[in-house]
Symmetry: C2
Subunit: 346 residues, 2 copies
């Protein structure tokens, strides 16, 4: 069996990573289409050792296409993901558009693959980047020690805001070094040599939408009883999100037990030597599939407390890789004659 | 009354800021000496519109000098601060050497100026930069709502590690832009376009000394019953530390009440509009005296929870300014015929 895969938003940072990931993992695709908004038509993007001509989303007919990997922005997905689904294409959407809809599964394959048995509208949602890496690390700990509350502060790279945001960090850095004027367009303030405590829009309670997402998505994916308070900040890094995670469990936790569980956990790589360099930084996560856990410590300030540092490539596990992994689960289901792709074939 | 002031470590990032701060605040100094290790002799440093020739610490006689502002590194202070104190010079030491000694006051003038009435060994300790700004913001809230526990994650600039560390960020940034090899000397990994979750040395419990300092110093300065868990990380910023602070209080807290208290609090400036740019970033704190508080939110995941974002210039309030403010309190005491400087004159 092989599939026709449409990558929507193919010229963006995540779209390009989706194409790269499909090629690297030898996804069983007999045809791949690179799709973006009309103004990108004429561009070409790489897919393995081939280049694909970008096709217009507005004019694209999804009939006959099996899987749509969408990352075009929420407003665009709102229109075109249901259109693709109506044409019989199973959409894996990386935008925030459908994540909290009760009848759309929100999936991290290492955490809640069973939700892929409940695809109703032909759409699966890919969680927010900062949520994905956190729940990959939290899931095995939750199974053993039961999480009550998480306090997390993030150090998020500019690629989470897209290609233009990365270019702005580069341009501002260059300008700063030669004392040229700094142009601020993608962020609210200069990001070069700075930290901005604001990602996505403000909510009524003073949180940002990004902070709200980390709480709401964690509850939907992992357990509705887990309490999460997040502070999300943008740092002058190109790729790789880091998180300082402080967890309170119901049951007694030790570093030794947590480390052993995390060592066996799918998608997790523990790098935790208590010495110079014995931890993973965002730069080192770039291009890697794993969610890295470092700096494991018991937190003596609360009952059953544990702190750790968590890093992942936000374009890969935080976006493209997770989406492709979802597609791989659908393919495996179809091989067993089961799931959304099999229903489609039938 | 005016005083003879010796600035020790005058060629470092903090020493230079001490000289700048003394000049800017018109500190009543009738003479200022710039002192550093023997290898810096021959250099000159700025003091207001003058330049001072650097003198050798090893050969410097502190007799007749009233105040010593020390920032030469802990091992050097260990030797020379007691030597200066024995000569009758009141030492305000910015290193970690004496901070936790029971008979050395650890002082933030907005928080515990009363500790300056208990100078016994002729030495006052200036707290760690990340502690200072946090306790300036916490003190007025603690007085009103009583703090139980603080969970803090820091975003610390390279200047906290000294002048060479700032130069390394600059050099690595330049090298990175032109794809030259990256030289790592001051940090354990590349800091340009990266985040390093490691400041100071590792402790047995897996914390770093910086994380331990934030807890131990907060308890010594503010209240021994406050529990603090910190995760400290270095970010590619030149000057200005930021902190994501999550506090649990004994009494009910609201954002409105917290904001009103912080607006009146000495040393604090509240900048907190829930809109694009309505918060302070490290870059904006540079050269400022205030500790800025932004992003005030109630934390619904815990009883009486409050979260906020706290930023200050780590070289000023985090080091030089706080030291000079301590000296100013000593001067005010002396005017009333009281305190360490008055005893010295007598």
């Amino acid at each position: 069996m092989s599939y026709r895969v449409a990558v929507v938003g193919a010229t963006g940072a995540v779209g390009r990573e989706m194409l790269k990931t499909l090629a690297q993992r030898n996804f069983p695709a007999r045809e791949v289409a690179a799709i973006a908004s009309g103004r990108s038509v004429g561009q070409e993007v790489s897919f393995g050792d081939k280049t694909l001509a970008v096709q217009s989303l507005e004019k694209f007919d999804f009939a006959g296409w099996d899987i749509g990997l969408f990352s075009p922005g929420a407003a665009v997905s709102a229109v075109h993901a249901p259109r693709a689904a109506a044409a019989g294409c199973v959409v894996i959407d990386n935008t925030s558009q459908f994540r909290m809809e009760p009848d759309v599964p929100l999936v991290v394959p290492e955490v809640n693959p069973e939700a892929l048995g409940r695809i109703k509208r032909g759409i699966v949602a890919n969680p927010n980047c900062s949520t994905i890496q956190m729940v990959v690390a939290l899931k095995p700990l939750h199974d053993r020690f039961r999480i009550r509350r998480v306090v997390v502060a993030t150090y998020q790279s500019t690629s989470g805001a897209g290609k233009e945001a990365m270019e702005e960090l580069m341009a501002q850095t260059r300008a700063s070094l030669v004392h040229d004027p700094i142009v601020v367009e993608q962020f609210t303030k200069q990001i070069a040599f700075n930290v901005i405590p604001h990602i996505d829009r403000f909510m009524d309670d003073g949180s940002t939408k990004e902070e709200w997402k980390m709480a709401a998505e964690t509850r939907k994916i992992l357990d509705p009883d887990i309490k999460v308070i997040a502070t999300c900040a943008r740092v002058p890094v190109f790729i790789g999100h880091a998180e300082a995670v402080h967890v309170e469990f119901e049951k007694k936790v030790t570093v030794a037990a947590a480390r052993e569980i995390l060592r066996e956990a799918p998608g997790v790589q523990v790098v935790d030597r208590r010495e110079d360099g014995g931890y993973v930084t965002p730069l080192e996560s770039q291009g890697e599939d794993a969610t890295f856990v470092s700096r494991l410590r018991e937190d003596p300030t609360v009952e059953n407390g544990l702190a750790f540092w968590c890093v992942a490539d936000n374009l890969r596990k935080g976006a493209a890789l997770n989406a492709v992994q979802i597609a791989e689960v659908l393919v495996a289901q179809a091989k067993r004659g089961d799931g959304a792709l099999a229903r489609r074939a039938a």
